[in-house]
Structures are given as structure tokens and as C-alpha cells.
């Protein structure tokens, strides 16, 4: 077991930044090719006109999840060295909700706004400026927000841990939900 490669010292910080650019290249390429540089497609799910976002997003999540747990179970990757996105329950519920409003208004999320600019959409520049301003606003208000920001810390909590289930059981259930969801979306889109 010698991965995650960076955690096991396969290369240094300078190389890690090169890796960042290469991974970013693929990230941007697939976002653009999936249509996620286009605000009409990005907001379509909320207007029930285009379900590209959930299709791309859930496919990507499930592919990566299956890959991570497969590599881990085969002893090829030390999942304990992976940085798990920590859960802060209420800040993430409120943050996600406000994010959804901003997403519909601006037509983008942070990564897709960059992909949109790269496809020539100049309105994305204003969304990006807004994102910078919103980050500054958070930093300015931080002394008043800190208590809430640090509340309901649940650390590296995962769904398999919460439910006391094997990760493959959870993944299989999520796959069934995704396939049913995709089928309904395809049927709905064909009817349109």
C-alpha cells in the first residue's frame, strides 16, 4: 500500500502543483464537454427543463466512490490517509441552501464559472467577482459568524458509519436510487 502517492512521499510540493494543473485540465475539459459551462444547462434542473447537472454529478460521485472503496478494499490505497471532507452539520445545511439560491441567480457555481469564462461567456466574470466579494464579506463578518461556523462538528463522519452499514451496501443503494432517478429524468425529457 503506497497511495495516496503524495502522502507516501512519492513527490514533493513543487510537483504536486504540476499535478494540480493536470488534474484541473481534465476537470475543466469534462465539465465543458458535459455542458457544464453553460448556465442554461446548469440551472435547467431547477426549472425542470434540463437534467444535465444531476446526471453528470451523480455519475461522477458514484464512479469515484466505487473506485475509492475498490482500491481501498484491494489494499491498493490507504483510505485513512485520505483527507475526508469534514461535516459541520448546520453550517453546511445553511451554506448549501444559500449556495443554491446564489447558483440559480448567477447561473454558475465556482468551478463552472471558470469553465464558462473559458468558453467565452463574459457574464461569468461578474459571477466570479461576486464570489470574491462574498468570500471577503464572510471574512469581514467572521467574528460574528465564528460560533455558528464551528458548531455541530461531526468530524469525518460518513454515511456507512452513521447507518452502521457496509460501504458497498450504501453504494449499491445509491446506485439503485441514481438509476431510477436517471430513468425518470430521461422519460420526462423525452416527453418535453
Amino acid at each position: 500500500m503506497n497511495s495516496p502517492l503524495y502522502q507516501y512521499g512519492a513527490f514533493g510540493e513543487g510537483t504536486s502543483l504540476l499535478v494540480a494543473v493536470v488534474i484541473g485540465l481534465f476537470f475543466g475539459f469534462f465539465l465543458e464537454r458535459g455542458g457544464l459551462g453553460n448556465p442554461h444547462k446548469l440551472t435547467g434542473v431547477f426549472y425542470l427543463t434540463d437534467f444535465t447537472v444531476p446526471k453528470v454529478m451523480f455519475t461522477a460521485m458514484l464512479v469515484a466512490a466505487a473506485g475509492v472503496y475498490l482500491l481501498s478494499d484491494l489494499g491498493l490505497m490507504d483510505i485513512g490517509k485520505m483527507w475526508i471532507v469534514p461535516t459541520f452539520f448546520w453550517p453546511q445545511i445553511v451554506g448549501g441552501f444559500v449556495f443554491g439560491i446564489g447558483y440559480v441567480l448567477s447561473g454558475y457555481c465556482p468551478g463552472t464559472s471558470v469553465a464558462a469564462l473559458a468558453s467565452g461567456r463574459l457574464d461569468a466574470l461578474f459571477a466570479m467577482a461576486g464570489m470574491g466579494a462574498g468570500s471577503l464579506l464572510f471574512a469581514v463578518l467572521y467574528p460574528w459568524l465564528e460560533g455558528f461556523y464551528l458548531s455541530s462538528n461531526m468530524d469525518e463522519l460518513t454515511i456507512p458509519k452513521v447507518m452502521g452499514l457496509n460501504h458497498w451496501t450504501v453504494l449499491a443503494a445509491l446506485c439503485v436510487i441514481a438509476v431510477v432517478m436517471f430513468a425518470l429524468m430521461e422519460r420526462y425529457e423525452r416527453r418535453e
Partner: protein, 170 residues
Amino acid sequence: MKKKQKFWSPYVAGIGLGLTLLAAFYIMGRGLGASSAFSVTAAVATRAVNPEYAGSLKYFAKYLGLESPLKDWIVFEIAGLFIGALVGAILSGSFRFTFDKGAHTGGITRLGSALSGGALIGFASRLARGCTSGVALSGGAQLAVSGWIFVIAMFIGGFISAAIFRRLWP
């Protein structure tokens, strides 16, 4: 209603994106991200305008305490994202300078919606510790609770605001 598709099937793009995310996990032990690049940039820009004020902001200390804050993994990943999307747009012939907006939306309204929506996203991403890339996609793939509660809350917020701003995009 269906025009000739100039994009890939969303499932194919999703598999590509998933494999990219898996590569990030395997090589770097971390997922993808995006919003923190805007936060770092905002901190550096604030310092350029008013170093004293930027130094007084506790939240920005984690960036500005570093020797070179922009030498950051996510900032470099976003630079790659831009190039990758540019390549995709040019190769497929979909690159075009536009000021994109809904069919019934005026230019000033669009400017305001982009700015205000962006500001809400910037703020919310800090509160949630990431965005659709860092929390939803990466956390979701780790089956982390964070990723899935963020996605659910985001969809609720999105559907409610689409019901309010009914003519913004369609």
C-alpha cells in the same frame, strides 16, 4: 425541441469527471475544489489594497500567514480547469464570446444577478467549507455526510429560488 447535441452525453462526461476525481484521491489523497481559489484571491487582493485591514481579518490569516498564498493546490487546479475547458470549447467549436442570460432577462438584470448570486455563493462556500466541487462532489464520493447534506440543502435552495425567479433563465 431537441437540437443537434454539441455536448457529450452527461453520463460519459460524468464518468470522465469521476475518474478525474478518483485520480485526485489516489495521487493527492484529496478531492477536487474550486471556491477556495476565490477566497485566497480575495484575501490577496484585499491585502494589495489595504494590508493593515487584510491583516486584521482573522479568517484570512490562514492564507495570508503563508509565504506565498497563491502557490496553492486549488489555485493551480483552477488554472488547469480554465485551460482544459478552453481546449474543450475550442476543439468542439462551441467557443463564442457572449454575455449569456435568459431569453427574458435584460442586460442590467443579468449583471445584477451574476454579481449578487456570485456573492451569495462566495459567502455560502466559506460557511459550508467548500462548494459543489470540494464538498458536494468530493465529499459525496467519499460518502461523507457533509457532501450529501450540502447537495440536499443546495437543491432545496435552488428549487425555491427558481420558483421565485421564474423568468430568469427559461
